[in-house]
């Protein structure tokens, strides 16, 4: 039975809780770090990006309106499912990134997810405030999610980097459209399969695979996207993306040249980047 022909998969996109093919009908081969064939992935187009934004917008009121505690529980549950798929993740990370440290990367990714899940119900007390004001008023500042966030996932770190950019976005109550690493999309696809079977409502995370340089400009200019994470943006178009995003005054999460060291202990900067502050003045009691 050794000459059995294995079934090569053709993966699809993840939009609004469903797995549609790309509207364009295109797909592209995904290779491992040595150039060997792994699978086919959908090559998303601008219309897929449009559909994904619509799905994310639709999911936003429900997800941002859920209690922080509830969001935390949902995200912890995702961590459980990640744990259940660990062998698949280890294999995919090892094949995609050509590393022998697959195990420790997956461990770190799951830990990272749990770390951000713990933040859901702490965001309000850490970033919110009761402001001392000169007058008979209570003044409160409360953090609120920015809205729909377009995330260009890191190109090199296909799982740990991905989790590090997606988890803070949804932990704070935003919904997102993620453009997965162009050459290493498999961990992102598996993550979307995990999310589809978890309690995360459809549309909260939408995963597009394909050419980042093709999809990103449409997301950057889209008027219904509120923030753009440039982490995985190709250097050549970064400036153009920033200009396009400025046209509709998006929040930007900028990144320097090259990728940060994802293994380093995270801080709250990525949480803060996708939060707005609402300040309420209320007359003091009679």
């Amino acid at each position: 039975m050794s000459d059995r022909i294995s079934v090569a998969k053709t993966y699809k996109l993840y939009i609004g809780g469903a797995f549609p093919r790309s509207e364009s009908g295109r797909s592209y081969p995904v290779n491992d770090s040595r150039g060997g064939f792994l699978a086919n992935a959908s090559q998303g187009s601008r219309k897929d990006a449009r559909d994904a934004v619509a799905a994310a917008r639709k999911a936003f009121p429900g997800w941002s309106g859920a209690t922080a505690y509830n969001r935390g529980q949902v995200l912890y549950r995702v961590a459980e499912l990640l744990e259940g798929r660990r062998e698949q993740f280890v294999a995919e990370v090892a094949a995609s990134e050509g590393t022998k440290r697959g195990e420790s990367i997956v461990d770190a990714a799951i830990d990272r997810w749990v770390w951000y899940a713990g933040w859901t119900d702490k965001v309000a007390s850490v970033f919110g405030a009761s402001n001392p004001v000169a007058g008979p008023y209570f003044s409160f500042s409360v953090p609120e999610p920015t809205g729909v966030v377009a995330v260009l996932a890191p190109q090199a770190s296909s799982l740990l980097g991905l989790v590090s950019v997606v988890a803070p976005v949804i932990a704070t109550g935003n919904t997102c459209v993620v453009v997965a690493s162009q050459d290493r999309p498999l961990p992102a696809i598996t993550l979307s399969e995990v999310l589809a079977t978890s309690d995360v409502p459809g549309g909260v995370v939408n995963v597009l695979t394909g050419r980042t340089a093709e999809i990103a400009p449409w997301l950057a200019a889209h008027a219904d996207v509120n923030a753009l994470d440039l982490t995985g943006a190709p250097e050549a178009i970064k400036a153009d993306l920033e200009r396009a995003a400025a046209g509709t005054v998006k929040r930007l999460v900028r990144s320097g040249r090259g990728e940060p060291d994802w293994a380093r202990e995270p801080d709250v900067s990525r949480l803060r980047a996708v939060l707005e502050t609402k300040t309420v003045w209320h007359p003091m009691g009679v």
């Binding site: 934004v53 917008r57 449409w218 200019a221 889209h222 008027a223 219904d224 996207v225 396009a244 509709t248």
Partner: protein
């Protein structure tokens, strides 16, 4: 499709029996065929300049509708402002075809549209069920006409139609048409309650025989509302009416048309089934409330080269 050519249309409406004979003598609708043709035409791709033109045409055909129990004069005034100038940032956007309200709000709507050329349509005749007697239906119509409505959307008595009392339905439409005076009459067939395409074809002809200026699919209160195949059947009816009499009558699908994509599919159907001369607000209208928002959003997408969002157009 054509009705028996020996029958003169004036003879058809002489009595109940000949009306029945005529309507049941209409050829049956090929259900699979019409659904397939509607689906095929729906795949036609309209791009760039043509799309922009289609969007502008669709905007000029919208009957901006609010038919809620919770309607207030304030809401109607907002609606009329939007009807006159759908997108304030783009002055070249045409105004919509009409606003459509309940009879008691017609006066407010008339004041709101002013001399902009936007029509004021009013539903009447015990909308949406049509369950009342003729005197009440006529009074309802007169109320709207006196308040200044330029178009009346009446509902037919589906109970009478379905039990085969075609004469009664015919007489009612004729009476309401008389009560309309100069106002245009749109006859709502409520196709969602007629169950078959054959019935839709019969009801369409009945309304055309009785003098309806428009035939309209539905009230929007019953599901399914407007569908493409049903609109196809109705477009065939007005086309055949033109072939027999030389008169041009209109069609208005209403209810459930929410996106630009849908609207363009309807425009393609109008062009292919009835003919290009129907591509005018005088002969084709969309009964819709949220469609206009999407049309404006897509219009901006075309002009600005990137996707627009609901933050940038008025959403009601």
């Amino acid at each position: 499709m054509s009705a028996p050519s020996t029958t003169e249309l004036s003879e058809v409406t002489r009595d109940d029996a000949s009306l029945r004979r005529f309507l049941h003598g209409l050829p049956g609708v090929d259900q699979v065929g019409v659904e397939q043709r509607a689906a095929t035409l729906g795949t036609r791709s309209i791009k760039k300049a043509s799309k922009l033109q289609a969007i502008d045409t669709a905007i000029s055909m919208v009957d901006l509708t609010t038919l809620e129990g919770a309607d207030t004069p304030g809401k109607v005034r907002t609606l009329t402002a939007k009807a006159r100038r759908p997108d304030p940032e783009y002055a070249e956007v045409p105004h919509v075809g009409a606003v459509c309200v309940y009879p008691d709000l017609v006066a407010t709507a008339v004041a709101g549209v002013g001399d902009s050329g936007v029509g004021v349509a009013s539903v009447a005749t015990a909308f949406p069920s049509g369950r009342s007697n003729l005197a009440v239906k006529l009074a309802d119509t007169e109320l709207a006409v006196e308040a200044g409505a330029t178009e009346i959307d009446m509902v037919i008595d589906r109970g009478a139609f379905l039990s085969g009392r075609y004469g009664q339905v015919y007489e009612e439409i004729v009476a309401v048409k008389a009560a309309c005076g100069d106002a245009h009459l749109k006859v709502i067939l409520e196709t969602g309650e007629l169950s078959t395409y054959d019935n839709v074809r019969r009801a369409s002809w009945l309304a055309l025989l009785a003098g309806g200026d428009f035939i309209k699919t539905s009230t929007g209160k019953v599901s399914p509302a407007a569908t493409l195949p049903v609109t196809h059947v109705m477009l065939q009816a007005v086309r055949d009416w033109r072939d027999r009499t030389g008169e041009l009558r209109g069609v208005k699908p209403a209810g459930g048309i929410r996106t630009t994509k849908d609207a363009i599919r309807y425009l393609v159907a109008v062009h292919e089934v009835a003919g290009p001369e129907w591509l005018t607000p005088k002969l084709f209208r969309f009964g819709a409330s949220s469609l206009l928002n999407d049309l404006l959003m897509q219009r901006r997408t075309q002009l600005e080269g990137h996707y627009s969002g609901p933050d940038y157009v008025t959403v009601d």
